[in-house]
Symmetry: C2
């Protein structure tokens, strides 16, 4: 186990930079769609679950209302989504795709392929990496559980 304070030996630092650099790769790809990376993630969720409420959207992306409220406001301004109160629960805000938001899906359909092409990564490696990341998150959640038990 690496217990020194050397920057390059910290797994957190490697995760942090890998994430930042991969996000940087997305920027020029998403620019023509007029989306930031975070906005793209929100659109991914909406293309799966149109009419999702803000709370559920936040739990899927691990983002709170402080991040999502202004972000959704910007997506509304661009014209990709709309929001309204839920009929069954007036506290909830439900987010919908507009016509343009739906059309955008087709324009975005080749983004994943473009990115994996840039990464030049084979199927087996890709799967292994996904498993590693899932495992890291599982360990983090397990720790959270252990904490809550005490």
């Amino acid at each position: 186990m690496e217990r020194s304070l050397r920057l390059e030996h910290q797994i957190c630092f490697q995760l942090y930079t890998a994430s930042k650099e991969l996000t940087r790769l997305y920027r020029p790809i998403l620019a023509p769609l007029n989306l930031t990376y975070s906005q793209y993630l929100v659109m991914l969720v909406l293309w799966e679950e149109d009419g999702i409420d803000l709370r559920r959207l936040g739990s899927r992306l691990t983002l709170d209302s402080g991040t999502l409220s202004p972000l959704i406001k910007r997506l509304i301004q661009i014209g990709y989504v709309e929001k309204s109160r839920a009929i069954d629960d007036e506290r909830k805000i439900v987010v919908y795709l507009t016509e343009r938001g739906n059309t955008l899906r087709e324009q975005a359909s080749d983004v994943p392929l473009q990115v994996s092409g840039m990464l030049n990564i084979d199927e087996a490696t890709y799967v292994a990496y996904m498993e590693m990341l899932t495992d890291i998150k599982t360990r983090l959640h397990d720790f959270g559980e252990r904490q809550r038990e005490q």
Copy 2:
């Protein structure tokens, strides 16, 4: 290769959330040291290379002056570092540890152990994960090289 638009299948999303959640784990650990996560990364570099110039600091952390200038200003306010112009090149800003900044190193020395304990990860897995993350970054850099060649 995952080429669909499903959120959970995107390696970028898994990296992004893993990084965010691991950073969240650091917050309560770093709070007693009066440091944010990014400030902690800067301190890690300074504990390795005291008197580093801002440009080199930025290249080690992949951060530009727009992020580092105000961040260093805050570290100066706290009293952990000081800055001055380089004597050989007046354009360069050199960052130094103060007495307190040096003392902090000992207080921070058990942070990596605390974190790996929370992750509950064994040596072999840790090393494998570090290699994967390094590999992802290598692929990203390789793509950058290929781009520059054209």
